[in-house]
């Protein structure tokens, strides 16, 4: 961080580095991917399992993750559930955008410093805008 004044490109090093859009998006790709893998697929299994098990299991699922009508504990988990669902949709849109970025990097394009930084920022704008639009559509229609 101390030597980050000049415009020379620097690769991440144990002590000499600074935040940049590309490294942020690279880390977010891993974080969102693993979040989706554990929380996202876990909730997906709970959801389809609940539908397959019948109306009571489905009502219980909704109570725990969304409506919170089954007591004090569910009141808390339902608030957490809403945060998790919004977080998962953002994580998906971010992972989608940074994943497409990786597919483009895989064909050898987009490595120029400014283009790389610009497209990294675009993935962040895309994921935040898509999340807002998705939930606005869901809640306001």
């Amino acid at each position: 961080m101390a030597q980050a004044r000049s415009n020379r490109p620097i690769s991440p090093h144990l002590q000499i580095w600074r935040w940049g859009p590309a490294m942020l998006v690279s880390i977010l790709h891993r974080v969102t991917g693993n979040g989706l893998a554990f929380a996202g697929l876990g909730l997906l299994l709970w959801w389809v399992g609940a539908i397959a098990s019948g109306p009571e299991a489905y009502a219980s699922f909704l109570g725990w993750v969304w409506t919170g009508t089954g007591g004090a504990l569910q009141f808390v988990t339902a608030i957490l559930g809403k945060i998790v669902f919004v977080g998962l949709t953002w994580a998906f849109f971010q992972h989608l955008a940074s994943g497409v970025r990786h597919l483009i990097l895989d064909i050898g394009a987009g490595y120029e410093l400014h283009a790389n930084a610009r497209w990294s920022v675009v993935t962040l704008i895309f994921s935040i805008a898509s999340t807002i639009l998705f939930w606005a559509f869901l809640l306001l229609r």
Binding site: L41, L44, L45, V48, A59, L96, G99, D106
Partner: protein, 127 residues
């Protein structure tokens, strides 16, 4: 044979020569996810309500059931590959590596089997 000494190969060190296949499957399943997950999100967003009857009827439609089963296969395999890469980067001790190898080869398939069975039960009746 290029990587490591002969004793190193005996100990299972060096390349397993499956990296390119792993990498390619990760990309292939990523493309599958670009189709499947937006389909799921759009279908959910367009549902008129989220009561049991509506959601069950949606999931029981052939197109929805097919997409859900493909998600159980494609997305779980994509997640399995990605989690494996993460674990390989952060776990360096033998015990942790062995545990991770066990879990990453068993849990995703157990989850996918549960998911596929659930979708089949929704689609073909029984609950």
């Amino acid at each position: 044979m290029g990587n490591g000494t002969s004793i190193g190969r005996v100990r299972g060190l060096g390349s397993s020569h499956q990296g390119a296949h792993h990498w390619l499957l990760s990309r292939l399943t990523a493309v599958g996810n670009i189709v499947l997950i937006p389909f799921l999100l759009a279908s959910l967003a367009l549902l008129p309500a989220y009561d049991y009857a509506t959601v069950h009827a949606w999931a029981a439609r052939p197109l929805s059931s097919t997409a859900l089963i493909l998600i159980m296969i494609n997305t779980f395999y994509h997640a399995r590959l990605g989690v494996q890469v993460m674990l390989e980067d952060y776990l360096h001790e033998d015990a942790g590596k062995f545990t991770a190898w066990l879990l990453v080869n068993l849990v995703p398939f157990a989850g996918a089997a549960f998911g596929i069975l659930s979708v089949l039960r929704i689609a073909l009746g029984g609950a």
